[in-house]
Amino acid sequence: MKGHLRQSHRDGAKVARRHRTRLVGMVAIGAAIITAAAACTPSTHASKPIASPGVTASGTITFWHFFTDRESAAIKGVVGDFEASHPNIKVIVKDGQDDDKMTQAIAAGGGPDVGLSYSTDIVGKFCQSGAWQDLTPYIKRDKVDLSQIPGPVLNYTQYNNKRCTMPFLNDAYGIYYNKTMFAAAGITEPPKTLDELTADAKKLTKFNPDGSIKVAGFDPSFGVYENSAAHFAPMTGAKWLTDDGKSAIGTDPAWQDLLNWQKSLVDWYGYNKLTKFNATFGDEFSAQNAFEAGKLAINMDGEWRIASIAADKSKVDYGVAPIPVSAARASTYGSGYITGNVIGISRGSKNPEAAWTFIKYLTTNTDAMVKLANGIKNVPTLTSALNSPNLSADANFKLFLQISANPATSTTPPSGAGTTYQDDMQAFVDKWQAGKVSNLGTGLTQVDSQINQALSIAG
């Protein structure tokens, strides 16, 4: 038996030794690389001269967008219209595409001819790096009337006066409230200020016999559905970045106002109780959405929820209103957070003429835009489309059109470091609402320095 044991032990040791030798080899290879680092220089695309006026574009183009399901079908319909009126151009549509994926494809020299992004966060880096081509020559040549597009929308579709994107509908945020619950609690109109929101939330909340939450009047938790620092910021007018692109979070007192208000409501429920309640929510884009399922009396959401409630056949009797604002900002009631979809031509596009023809159709043709807006229930980005009699807008939807057009309405600013400032802030507010931040002022100053350091390592 001893002999067997020794033998097997020797085998084991031999294998281990062999592994070790191999590992040393791997490390040696790694070290060798340090001296022989290969250079990686993708070709930079020089801008090609554009065609003269009157030239008809033709060929095949690819179009990536992020919509799925119901919304994707609406896009398909409009693309069909485009192909019918432009028989020389064929559009290959790929739905459900993520921004990160598109960015990687463009960086690798590929990507779609026409890309649609859900986020204005990319405008900064796409315009600056030339990942999306400058559209100004096309706009000038075709004499596109940009005054048809509202001012705030024009602003978020360009970066440092470079227009590499066109606005493709936008999203406006407001609050949805359950009319049945409001009536039962004796509340006659939606809250206009943060204090009213707190008072209503407390009145509307119902607890189970065991003390857990049955219905939350308003769920202030960050990280739940659309509740984020970015979407809440307009409540107190909190600013993200200073004019020179540095973080303004630590210096703008509006952040402290917002976070203190939010925490006081969280603490009224009890953080643990609220977390437990949140964990029972169904997915945001499903019929189990907590507002549609009657677990929330007031919820912050975008204009698309109107269409979702209809599509999910939810029985909820709801009204909509602008987000409540702090008492100091009462004059800005009626505004809110907007974010837009942006569309552009990849720098690697083989057929930018056809791509531009397609973009021009989607973003400047009133009928096409009205059809799209009706189909996916987003806000049009042309004045003519907003005023079109064909735009099917009930009173609820009209409210979002007004929020979108309100001059005090704002969005998250573009930054060279992408979403860093929002990611850092999100991590901070998660800790904050859990009661893990002892001093708010110091904490926010630390977030400032984190963001500024991250900006310093951005290209």
Binding site: L23, V224, D283, A454
Partner: protein, 366 residues
């Protein structure tokens, strides 16, 4: 291997029908190898070509030998060069630049990214989370894998049925498995929580609680243990039963048999699975990303895949997830490369330490 073999192996010693079968026997007359070498001089498998080579000039012999060896290892070397060394070199070079993916190659930044890394609080969180998984998830996987393999070797009847059942979870696609776990464990409404509530236990918040999200992922990893288990099972069935016979004649208890017979014999396999699992855990990405997205209720929101990473409260933000987050949504690709290089170096170091430790472990076993 057959079911009867399986039941015979690590169990109590009993008469073996084919115990004395030597490995040489099946290669008797008629095997292709012995037919292929017409050894007139009776020297066994030495081929006539061997003698022909000896007469050639030595440089040709050397060249031929190199060509032969080269043709065998060439494709592998080419693969390593293209898919490992070149990307690694590019990553190293990129890590010393400031740039986003769209404006490569960016500007030279020297070791600036590495300096920043030392002070980045998210790196600390992410590294801690990944370390936690290495310390808890890997041992949990090894113990579960070895334990279920041991159980299966003891199985007398229907052992292939049990093997299939134990292995099935490994066939479930990762994303589907994670989603199923998140919904099964969903607090308040999930079936597990409902069942626990029926017997009077108030379940934790599982994937929604920062202190339970990591253990929940470990549970998931223990459930889909199939691959590790199969490797262990093969190793256990390869332990010569004569060793167990000898040990039991010497009066060794089951525990001592496991410690002094089973463990040393399967130790190379133990090392292999440990190494593989550690590497997989250092690269843990999909499970954590999907669990965070599904548990936060925003799995289908078109806000970018990375916006939920780490939910809840950065508790599942693993190091690879942080690399992705910095590299793509945050547009800090130079920094992300620095993070990746550090992960590579750490992986090499961990494996070096592991292999060294392991050698002393197997030495101590005899």
């Amino acid at each position: 291997m057959s079911a009867t073999d399986a039941s015979a192996r690590p169990g109590p010693p009993r008469p073996r029908r084919r115990a004395s079968q030597s490995p040489g026997q099946p290669q008797g007359q008629g095997s292709p190898r012995s037919q292929g070498s017409p050894s007139a001089d009776g020297a066994g498998p030495v081929s006539p070509t061997g003698r022909a080579v000896r007469r050639r000039p030595s440089w040709r012999r050397t060249l031929r030998r190199y060509l032969t060896v080269g043709s065998f290892i060439g494709p592998a070397l080419l693969g390593i060069a293209i898919f490992l060394i070149f990307p690694l070199g590019t990553a190293l070079e990129s890590s010393m630049h400031k740039f986003g993916i769209l404006d490569a190659p960016g500007t030279w930044y020297g070791l600036g990214n590495y300096r920043y890394l030392l002070h980045d609080p998210f790196v600390h969180t992410a590294a801690w989370n990944t370390l936690w998984f290495c310390l808890i998830m890997v041992p949990a996987q090894l113990v579960t894998g070895l334990g279920s393999a041991l159980l299966l070797t003891k199985m007398r009847s229907a052992s292939s049925l049990y093997r299939t059942i134990f292995f099935l979870p490994a066939l479930v696609p990762t994303v589907a498995g994670v989603l199923a776990f998140v919904y099964l464990l969903k607090p308040g409404v999930g079936p597990v929580d409902t069942l626990l509530g029926k017997v009077g236990i108030e379940g934790p918040l599982w994937f929604n609680s920062p202190s339970w999200s990591k253990p929940s992922l470990v549970l998931l990893a223990m459930w889909s243990i199939g691959n590790t288990m199969v490797i262990f099972l093969a190793a256990l069935l390869d332990v010569p039963s004569s060793l167990y016979e000898a040990a039991s004649i010497d009066g060794a208890s089951a525990v001592r048999q496991f410690r002094h017979v089973t463990l040393p014999t399967i130790s190379p396999v133990l090392l292999f699975t440990t190494v593989i699992n550690i590497i997989a855990t250092l690269c843990l990405f999909t499970e954590a990303a999907v669990a965070a997205a599904a548990a936060s209720g925003a799995a289908t929101v078109g806000g970018g895949a990375a916006s939920n990473f780490g939910y809840p409260q950065e508790s599942t933000l693993t190091y690879p997830l942080y690399i992705y987050q910095t590299g793509f949504p945050q547009n800090l690709l130079g920094y992300a490369n620095a993070l990746a290089i550090v992960l590579f170096v750490v992986t090499c170091a961990v494996l070096a330490v592991l292999l060294r430790r392991f050698r002393s472990f197997t030495e101590g076993a005899s």
